[in-house]
Symmetry: C3
C-alpha cells in the first residue's frame, strides 16, 4: 500500500500544471525516500525530474516500491478540483490498478475523492549524475519567465552568456534583435529578489525558447529559479518545491557556430570520443530540427544520448533500469 498526505495540497496542483503540457504520460516512482518522476517531453528533447521527499509529507507510507503510470493531463484535471487550501491525499492499494486522490477542505465540511485508472507506461529511467557546473545563476523566477516570454516575441532561441558581472539573454529574429542583461545583485531587501551568479568560468549557450517558456510554467512553485550551465552539459532549470523537493528541467544546448552567434545552430550530437571519427559527415542534424520533424525517425536511444552527451566519464552511461527490476 502507498499513501501520502500533503497539507499544502496546492503544491501538487502547481507541480502538475508545470509539467502537464510538456509530458503526456509518465511513471511516478514511489519509494521509502519519496515520490518522484522522471520523464522526457514528447519530442524527446527535454527531460523533467520531480522529487518530493517523504519527510516533506505530513504522512507518508510506502510498503514497497511502486511505479504508477499516469496521464498527466487527466491527473491535472483531477487535482484542479482540489481547493487551494485543501489537504491532498494520494492513495494506491496493492493489487489495484487505480490511484485515489482525496481532497479535504480545511473545515472538513467537504471531502472529495477522485479515482483514476493507472497506465502501463514503457519508460526507461536515466541516471542523472550530479555534475559540477561552470556557472550557476539564481534569479527571481518571475523575472526569468518574463525574459523568456519577451524574447519569444522576437526570436526562437535564446543565447545565455554568463560573466562575473551578470547574465545576458539574447535573441534575434525577423523583426530585429534583443539583449537583456541582468546584473548580479545580492544586496536586495528581500532574498527572493536577489540575482546571484556563481561562476567558475564564463559560459555562452544557446537554447530553444519554446522549452524555456514551458519550464517557466513552474514559476508559481518558487520565487527563485536556479539555472546551471556548462558548455558540455544540458542546462538545468530548477524550481524548489517548498522545503520538500524540487522540479528540474534539463535541456541540451544548441551548439553555436562562432560566425553566427544567436542564430539556431546545429547541435553536436556525438560524444567527445566519437566526434572526431565522424567529422566528415556531410549533414549535421540539429536537435531543433529533430524535435520539429514530427519524430518520424527520432529513435529514443539517440535522443537520450543527445541529451546526456557530455556527462563525464563513468557517470555518462545511461543507467537504464528495466521497469521490472525497479519494482522488485
Amino acid at each position: 500500500m502507498f499513501e501520502l498526505r500533503l497539507v499544502q495540497g496546492s503544491l501538487l496542483k502547481k507541480v502538475l500544471e508545470s509539467i502537464k503540457d510538456l509530458v503526456n504520460d509518465a511513471n511516478f516512482d514511489c519509494s521509502s525516500t519519496g515520490f518522484s518522476l522522471q520523464a522526457m517531453d514528447s519530442s524527446h528533447v527535454a527531460l523533467v525530474a520531480l522529487l518530493l521527499r517523504s519527510e516533506g509529507f505530513e504522512h507518508y507510507r510506502c510498503d514497497r516500491n511502486v511505479t504508477m503510470g499516469m496521464n498527466l493531463a487527466n491527473m491535472a484535471k483531477m487535482l484542479k478540483c482540489a481547493g487551494n487550501d485543501d489537504i491532498v491525499t494520494i492513495k494506491a492499494d496493492d493489487g489495484t490498478d487505480t490511484v485515489t486522490f482525496m481532497f479535504e477542505s480545511p473545515s472538513q465540511d467537504k471531502i472529495s475523492d477522485f479515482e483514476m485508472k493507472l497506465m502501463d507506461i514503457d519508460s526507461e529511467h536515466l541516471g542523472i549524475p550530479e555534475a559540477e557546473y561552470e556557472s550557476i545563476l539564481r534569479m527571481p523566477s518571475a523575472e526569468f519567465a518574463r525574459i523568456c516570454k519577451d524574447l519569444s516575441s522576437i526570436g526562437d532561441t535564446v543565447v545565455i552568456s554568463v560573466t562575473k558581472e551578470g547574465v545576458r539573454f539574447s535573441t534575434r529574429g525577423d523583426i530585429g534583435a534583443a539583449n537583456i542583461v541582468c546584473r548580479q545583485n545580492t544586496t536586495v531587501d528581500k532574498p527572493h529578489e536577489a540575482t546571484i551568479i556563481e561562476m567558475q568560468e564564463p559560459v555562452t549557450l544557446t537554447f530553444a525558447l519554446r522549452y524555456m517558456n514551458s519550464f517557466a510554467k513552474a514559476t508559481p512553485l518558487s520565487e527563485q529559479v536556479t539555472i546551471s550551465l556548462s558548455s558540455d552539459l544540458p542546462v538545468v532549470v530548477e524550481y524548489k518545491v517548498a522545503e520538500m523537493g524540487h522540479i528540474r528541467f534539463y535541456l541540451a544546448p544548441k551548439i553555436e557556430e562562432e560566425e553566427e552567434a544567436a542564430e539556431p545552430a546545429p547541435v553536436q550530437t556525438k560524444s567527445k570520443e566519437t566526434r572526431s571519427k565522424k567529422e566528415n559527415k556531410p549533414k549535421v542534424e540539429t536537435a531543433h530540427v529533430e524535435a520539429m520533424r514530427e519524430e518520424e525517425e527520432a529513435s529514443k536511444p539517440k535522443e537520450e544520448y543527445l541529451l546526456l552527451e557530455g556527462l563525464k566519464d563513468e557517470e555518462c552511461k545511461l543507467q537504464v533500469k528495466p521497469k521490472e527490476e525497479r519494482q522488485a
Copy 2:
C-alpha cells in the same frame, strides 16, 4: 401602461445573464402581483421560472396584465449597457410593440434609454404546483457551482444522494470517477456559508451536468442555493433574487438503473398510469438522447409531459392557459 423601476438595477442584469444561454425567446408576464417569466430551454428538457414581486420595486405600475415577448440575448445586450450602480426602469406603453429600458447613473449625469421590439412568442404556461419534497438542501451557491464544474471535467451526469449526514455528488467518466461529499454544517459564523439538509427521506437522483452548470450561472444572484429533491419530481434549483423574488430551474431526473448507478440512465418518459401499458416497448428513449437529437422529432407536448411527470394526482395536469386568456 406598464412601468417598473428598480434602484438595484444590477439584479436585472444578473437575472438575464443567468437565463440567456438557456432560453432564446420568452414571454415576460406583467401583472399587478409582479414581473415573471416561465420558459423551457430550447431542447425542452429544463424549465426556468422567474418571479419578481411588485412590492420589491421602487415603482411598479401595471394597468392591465401584459405579456411581453423578448429575445433574451438582445435584452441581455441592452441590460449589459447599464452601469452596475444604475437605476433601471422598464416601460411599455399600451398599443406599442416596443419596450424601453432606461438606465440612470446614481449622479443622474448619464441617462440612457434603449428601445427593443417585442416579439410574438407562441408559448404555453405550465402550472407548477407547490410540492412536498423528500429532501431539501441549502448550501453556498458558489460551492454548488464549483462542484458542478469540477464534476464536469470527469463525467456528463451527476448523482445526488442526500442522507441526514450530508449530500454526495458523484460522477463517472472515461478518465475515472469522482465523489464529493458535503456535510451538514449549521454552526458557521456567516449564515450564507451554511449547508443545511432538511430530509424527510433519503433520495438518490441523477441529472445531466450540462444543465446544472447552466443553472449555476445564477450564482451571482444569491449566496445560497436551495435544491429540492424527490424521487418522482423534477429537481428544483432555486436562487433568491434579493428579497423580491426568485429564479427557479426545474430539471427531470434521469432514472437510474440499479446495476449501473452513476451512469447515464434512461428516463421514464411515461406517467405512472400509462407506464404499465407500454412496458414492452422495445427501445426506451432517454431524455438525454432526446435533448441531443437536434430536436428533430421533439414534439413539445411530450416533453412537457416528461418534465412534469410525477407531479402528484390532480396537480399533475398541464394547466395550459392560452395566451389570449391570460392577457384579458
Copy 3:
C-alpha cells in the same frame, strides 16, 4: 544622431497600444521640436497625429531632422517588453537603418536593448490647420470608451448631438435603438470626472462606431478626452499624453439625411464648390462602404480629400511635403 529618453516609459507603451491596430506602418518625424507621427489608417478613412514635445523628455537630442519608418506592430512588440516602471530610450545613429529601444529597470539591475530595422515608407504629410469648432466636449475618457462600446452592441454608427445642456450619443440597429445622454457637469470633486461643453453652435454629426472604438484604445493615456465637432470638419478626438503632447484622431462625419437620422448615411465626398455640379450622379458612395471595399479602388488622393473636405479656404489645401524635402 537622434536620442530621446523618457523616465515614464509606460507612456510610449500606451501610445503604441493605442495606434498599432489602426495603422500598420508609419513614419516618425524627429525634429528639434519633438517626436511626432502622422498617419492614415489602412482604409484611409481616419487620421492619427501624435506629438511628443522635446521639452517633455528627460533627454532629447536631434542633430538634424530624421524620418524613421517603422512597423507599428513590431515596435509595439518591443515596447511591450519594457516594464511599466522602466526608463525608455530611443536611439538612432546617423547612417544606420536601425533604431534601438533601451529599457532600464528603476533599480538599474536589468537593462534591455532591442534593435529594429527601419523601413522606407512612402507617405505624404498633411498640413492640418488649427480650426474653430462649433462644439468642444470634454468628458472622462473611460465614459466615452464605455459609450462607444455599449452602442456598438446595438448599431454601427453613432450620432453625436451637442446642445448647451449636454451631449446625446444615439444609434439604431436590427435589435433596437439607443440614446445615451451625458449632462454638462462641472462641479465634480475630481476635475477628471467633469463633463464640460463649450458650444458656439449646436451640432449633430454621425460617425462610424468602429473607428470611435479604435480611438478609444488611447483611454489609458488620459483620464479626459476632448472631442471637437463642426458640421463641415472631421471630428477630432484628442487624448493628452501627460504634459508633453497629445494624440489626435481625425474622422470624417457621415453626412446625415434629415429624414433618417441615426442611420448610416451617405457621406458627401465632394467639397462645397463641386457638390452642386455633380448632384445628379446616380449612386452616392459612402465613406463606410469605401472603407469596407477592400480598398480595391480606394485611391489615396480622393480619400485625403474626403477627410479634409470642409477645412476652410486657404488652409484647406493639402500641404504635401515630399519626404526628401522634410529630411533636408
